[in-house]
């Protein structure tokens, strides 16, 4: 019986010209994608490929459709009123609409962490258990997975002795790492991060950045940010979006030292975009 969700063989997309070549080995393939809220077009005719491993930063000023694009990859935007899209998004070899008739399967394969740390008002352990509800696991197996995920999210040492404490008792930085750990229990192939450090302090931000770099070695991490310094620190691949269009994309080296677009140069050096 053929695998319903075949694992793509990937290599990093080197630059915009190399995008098509890498299309066969991408975790996410986006083709002629436009996104709308009601009649407002937020993203217009975007095509891109996101590699199977490594950290991809969607960079650009506010309101350029970075989060919207991210939110369509796991169809979480379906929950938003008047949101729609045209074109196609292919995640792990399957079309997000036709390949995943059960959207929950898509979401289990693509973990997501939002801008605001959001823990459920229950214990730390129950928060971690939330994603495992669909899997019939023994208590010891569930505990092992939870421990592993907390270790992967570099928070185990801080909270191992207080798993039964309310998750709301953690600091914001810890809550955000807990959210990442909570997403990791599902062992996703792709992790979507929507400005995960936007509302936390610099020390916690650095901890999360280190975590993102470490996770990027094994899975595809797609992170929205408008923090240029952060993108420079953590990204393997950068996609610069402006006014709902891709201005330029490529490896970190390409984007931060050999960039060709004037708009990219202005944004990266002056943190200003006139598009």
């Amino acid at each position: 019986m053929p695998d319903k969700h075949p694992k793509p063989q990937l290599s990093l997309v080197k630059n915009s010209a190399g995008a098509d070549a890498a299309a066969q080995s991408s975790a996410v393939k986006v083709r002629n994608f436009s996104a709308y809220y009601g009649k407002n077009c937020i993203i217009s005719d975007v095509s891109l490929d996101l590699p199977e491993k490594g950290v991809t930063c969607l960079l650009g000023p506010s309101g350029t459709g970075k989060s919207t694009l991210l939110r369509w990859i796991n169809r979480i935007n379906e929950e938003t009123e008047n949101a729609s899209f045209s074109g196609s998004i292919n995640v792990l070899g399957l079309d997000v609409l036709e390949g995943y008739p059960d959207v929950t399967e898509l979401r289990r394969r693509t973990g997501m962490v939002f801008q605001q740390p959001c823990v459920f008002p229950c214990s730390i352990y129950d928060n971690m258990l939330m994603g495992l509800r669909n899997r019939k696991l023994s208590k010891s197996d569930a505990r092992a997975i939870i421990e592993q995920s907390l270790k992967s999210a570099a928070i185990w040492d801080e909270i191992a002795h207080r798993l039964e404490d309310p998750a709301t008792s953690l600091s914001l930085g810890q809550q955000q790492r807990l959210c990442i750990a909570r997403a990791l229990v599902l062992k996703p192939s792709i992790l979507l991060l929507d400005e995960p450090t936007a509302s936390i302090d610099p020390v916690s931000s650095r901890a999360i950045e280190d975590l993102v770099i470490s996770l990027g070695k094994d899975i595809a991490v797609i992170m929205v940010t408008h923090n240029i310094i952060q993108a420079k620190r953590i990204a393997d691949h950068v996609i610069f979006l402006c006014d709902g269009k891709i201005v330029e994309q490529g490896t970190r080296t390409h984007m931060f030292s050999m960039r060709s677009s004037e708009k990219t140069r202005t944004y990266i050096t002056e943190e200003f975009c006139d598009c």
């Binding site: 399967e105 959001c118 509800r133």
Partner: protein, 287 residues
């Protein structure tokens, strides 16, 4: 310019005075009413009064069966209304994507809330007692009270659900939880206080109602603990009504005050619990 400032200052003073006066009048009426009931009723109130059956058409004895009847009817009404209100609120909050239908639902609930309570009684009389031939039944009374409470409990539950930040739903959905699992794991636990608050507010209103149950569920005297669903009970509001008709008798009047105070205390207990839960909900929301 000086005159204009003086005029503005004067109008502000007048407005503040009018607002204070309104508050004093409202609080005064409430205090007078509650104070009268308390002062007149406290002398009748005792454990013996609460746990002794009435006799001589209420003139002597206590209010045991009336208290029992009232509590039985409203608690069964609560059991009937809770799943219905919760289901409606959940549909409105989590399953309905049609804004037109949501609008119709809201308007219908507000309209249902505005119907005079006696109309519910007449409906019960025509539909249950006459058409379905149930006879005078405390259970029919509970059904009618449940219908009467439905808008309050539904709207309160829905508002509690709608107040849950959308980010919780999105986080749960992003973890691969199905809609039903999100309802069970996120919506219901987080709106629990709001649902119970609505239920208690509904109960505090229902327990004092006389008109909707007078024709269909209660008897003025001679009833004890009902042995089946289709027997009448006696309730505090109808007992007070009966005693008020004998107000020339000092003993009946004294018992009427005692029964009134008991009813007020019951309603206040439900309202107080609702207030407590609401304040707890608010404080949790600010955390």
């Amino acid at each position: 310019m000086f005159k204009a400032r003086n005029r503005r200052h004067f109008s502000e003073q007048c407005f503040a005075l009018a607002a204070r006066l309104s508050l004093i009048i409202c609080a005064g009426i409430l205090l007078f009413l509650l104070g009268s009931i308390f002062i007149q009723g406290i002398s009748a109130l005792s454990l013996e009064f609460l746990f002794t059956p009435s006799s001589s058409f209420g003139k002597s004895g206590g209010i045991f069966y009336q208290l029992f009847g009232s509590l039985l009817m409203v608690l069964v009404a609560a059991l009937l209304v809770l799943p219905l209100a919760l289901g409606t609120a959940l549909f409105r909050n989590s399953y309905n994507n049609n804004t037109g239908l949501a609008h119709v639902m809201d308007q219908s609930l507000y309209a249902l809330n505005a119907i005079p309570s006696v109309t519910y009684g007449i409906f019960g009389l025509i539909f249950f007692v006459n058409l379905l031939n149930t006879g005078i039944s405390w259970f029919v009374g509970s059904i009618i009270l449940a219908i009467m409470m439905l808008p309050t409990v539904t709207l309160s539950s829905y508002q509690a659900m709608a107040a849950i930040p959308k980010i919780y739903h999105e986080n749960a959905a992003a973890l691969g939880l199905t809609r039903t699992q999100i309802v069970r794991r996120v919506t219901l636990p987080q709106s629990f206080h709001g649902v119970v608050t609505g239920l208690l507010i509904g109960l505090s209103r229902a327990i004092g109602e006389t008109a909707p149950i007078m024709f269909i569920a209660t008897a003025f005297s001679g009833v004890t603990v009902p042995q089946s669903l289709v027997e009448p009970v006696s309730t505090l509001p109808t007992h007070i009504l009966e005693l008020a008709q004998q107000s020339t008798d000092p003993q009946a009047l004294q018992n009427a005050w005692g029964a009134s105070l008991t009813l007020v205390l019951l309603a206040a207990t439900f309202s107080g619990l609702a207030l407590f839960l609401r304040s707890r909900l608010n404080s949790e929301g600010h955390q």
